[in-house]
Amino acid sequence: MAEQSPVLEMTGIRKVFPGVVALDGVDFRLYPGEIHALMGENGAGKSTLIKVLTGVYDIDGGDITLAGAPVRINGPLQAQQAGISTVYQEVNLCTNLSVAENIFIGREPRRFGRIQWGLMRRRAAELLARLDLDLDVSAPLSTYSLAIQQMVAIARAVDISARVLILDEPTSSLDTSEVAQLFAVMRRLKDEGVAILFVSHFLDQIYEVSDRLTVLRNGQLIGEYRTAALPQVQLVEKMIGKELAVLSDVEDEAQSSREKAAEASPVIEARGLGRSGAIAPFDLTIHAGEVVGLAGLLGSGRTELARLLFGADRADQGELSIDGRPVTLRSPQLAMKKGIAFSSENRRTEGIIGDLSVRENIILALQASRGWTRPIPRRRQDEIVEKYIKALQIRPADPERPVRNLSGGNQQKVLLARWLITEPRLLIIDEPTRGIDVGAKAEIQKLVAELSGGGMAVLFVSAELEEVLRLSHKIEVLRDRRLVEELENTDGVDADRIMQTIASGATS
């Protein structure tokens, strides 16, 4: 491979946005027949680099050569013509059109201006067969799963230009077997000589499929490595720099607050609480200053349990008491009044309002609890928001920026800030770290540990066992919509032990 010349070479790429240098002299090389991972935290410049390659952004400096010839990419169409195709995380196809049309639209085979449907369908079927996909090409794309839609997008990209294929987080909404199928397609294309740029947050996937990787941090090039020659720990270090130390701090903090929590009084107590069809009756006590982790597979009832405690769904059996007094949580408003806050797992659809500013998003819950007749004075708003932007290190630290322009990790922090300013006694956070990078994850974990140290009770829901183990004092294991075991998080408990419980469901 070293003998070959790169199909794509970017040197000294510079891109400046008002107030931010997004890319600062970045070099990037891509060889034919390789899968090259682009690594970095959110905000490291990955997206910007990809947008430069696809012609969405124009560069402020540097050179791009494609197959030895200098190019200037001015738009998505031109990028395609130059041989660069992109498949994004969100499938950018038209689901109302057929599979074949989605592959060929804009390039349909024609004769005297008339589209040759038969030929088009045949060619689509051949192309998909090359990728080991057997689909009904005349069926509307909407009849297929997201994973299949993604492969159709790849088929289209490959057929347009087989030189450079950019896959921007294609795996984030796929399950394990779908990922395996995607990788099979990627390897097949690699064998055909396609140069693939791959972006993913999952380190395991990077190590499974990529040949080389390039690491960016804060818009700068950290280095280019052979994946096999770079241990994971070193990769993480390069991605997040010195901040790695944060993670071990978190663990210490969690340990120290553990002793305190044991003697505190219970904030919330559930006895036989349940909702048929959602979660079987369970007992759960959360003390002040305690972090309780919910572990279990997707669909095991984690979110359902959390929603009962917040009154988002009504329990149809059992009792709930807050501070020793029995309550029935009829609605989230009532729960909020009782000092319970719930940060939802779907930050895009249920939490963040993209068009509102950071300030407006943060102030939302507090304003709601006061009622609209008593608006929070603007000066007070600014004080609160400034304090939390600083405390949670929300970047960019501009309260008036629309939230949709923030990275996933920072949106999550805004969401947390929204609930924190209501000064809840119990904070329920559902999957706060999903889809955000390692550095932001560590910051959010650290924050949770600090909050519980300050006496707040936290119910922490996460699919990542490592995270649950690191933070929780107590771990509730769920399986098939049933709380199967409660584990004190002592030294004897590790990920294997929890996985065993999840797998077997038995109480040992």
């Binding site: 950018n92 057997d134 399950d175």
Partner: protein, 341 residues
């Protein structure tokens, strides 16, 4: 993104095994609204024949095309617009401007061919202008074409507020010309022009890149852009086409009535939208056929015919029934799309 309720097709094998089931149960959800309209049309026609003596005569059906030629042509243009997810409220006003201008110019002694080309160009230009405003300034189609409505209607009233008779020989000749189809069955040229418009439009939608781009934009305009499709050009072209169709409708109107009037065609844009919706063109865009719009026009026309045959019914019943049908079809569309998702 759309989520499908088909089981997650993990591998190629499971995806393939889905196909037979989909084939047997629902041939294509997109065809259901059109088929429903076809069934409704057949039922109404059958009911008419059963109840009224002369309803079964071929001339009754043939006259539907003659009486609704203008609406049909306008609905064809509207179909393109609605498939892209837009709407064109200006078409009725463009018709009134066209008829007024045509009548005025013909009375002024302009050559008929020049007048024809001129008004068709003007209609297209108004459409193109609206399309450009919608595309370049990201204005909602509703607002942009509402502005077009006021502009065109205002211009028409400015030219002349009263009805202007057309005495031009060519116009009168076309108006009086009859085309024999069969024994005792004749039709007018305007009906054939309308049918030709339907056929050409259907072919364009099904077999040209422009037609497919129209569907793609209605399905997901952002995706269409990222797939490198000429979204802006197509969008402007669609409104241009709608403007052209409206102007053509206006010409047909002036031929049929041998007059021009600035209040001609008031509310016709809504009739066209109603016909499209009844014909299964989804207001959210991305789905629908010109053939469906044709069926929608025929349904409304047939209602009117039945009311005429009944004789003792208030003509307002046409609107009442169209209103009820619209409700029914919108709810059905909702159900069909929800199931498809």
């Amino acid at each position: 993104m759309t989520t499908t309720d088909t089981p997650p097709a993990a591998g190629a094998t499971s995806a393939a095994s889905l196909n037979p089931r989909r084939r047997t149960f629902k041939p294509n959800t997109r065809h259901i609204p059109v088929l429903a309209t076809l069934v409704l049309l057949a039922l109404m026609y059958g009911g008419g024949i059963a109840n009224y003596e002369k309803f079964g005569q071929p001339s009754v059906f043939v006259n539907l095309f003659r009486d609704n030629a203008v609406l049909l042509v306008v609905a064809v243009g509207m179909t393109f617009v609605i498939i892209t997810g837009g709407i064109d409220l200006s078409v009725g006003a463009v018709i009134s401007l066209t008829t007024t201008l045509t009548a005025t110019l013909l009375q002024g002694g302009w050559p008929p061919l020049v007048v024809l080309v001129l008004v068709l160009l003007l209609g297209s230009l108004i459409g193109a202008g609206q399309g450009a405003v919608i595309h370049f300034f990201k204005v909602e189609p509703f607002i942009a074409t509402l502005a077009g409505l006021f502009l065109a209607r205002g211009l028409a009233l400015f030219i002349n507020q009263s009805s202007i008779p057309i005495r031009d020989e060519t116009w009168k000749a076309i108006s009086q010309y009859r085309i024999p189809l069969a024994d005792g069955v004749v039709t007018k040229p305007i009906a054939l022009i309308a049918i030709a418009a339907v056929l050409i439009a259907a072919a364009v939608l099904a077999w040209t890149r422009f037609g497919r781009n129209v569907y793609a934009i209605g399905g997901n305009a952002d995706s269409a852009l990222l797939m490198g499709l000429p979204v802006g050009r197509t969008r402007i072209a669609v409104y241009t086409l709608s403007g052209f169709c409206a102007a053509l409708g206006g010409v047909l109107f002036s031929i049929n009535s041998t007059s021009g009037w600035a209040l001609q065609g008031s509310g016709l844009e809504l009739d066209a939208i109603a016909a499209c919706v009844i014909g299964g063109v989804l207001l959210t865009g991305g789905s629908g056929y010109v053939f469906g719009a044709l069926l929608g026009v025929l349904v409304t026309g047939l209602i009117q015919t039945i009311i005429n045959f009944q004789g003792d019914l208030n003509p307002a019943w046409t609107r009442i029934i169209v209103g009820v049908l619209l409700f029914g079809f919108i709810v059905m569309q909702r159900l069909v799309t929800r199931r498809a998702k």
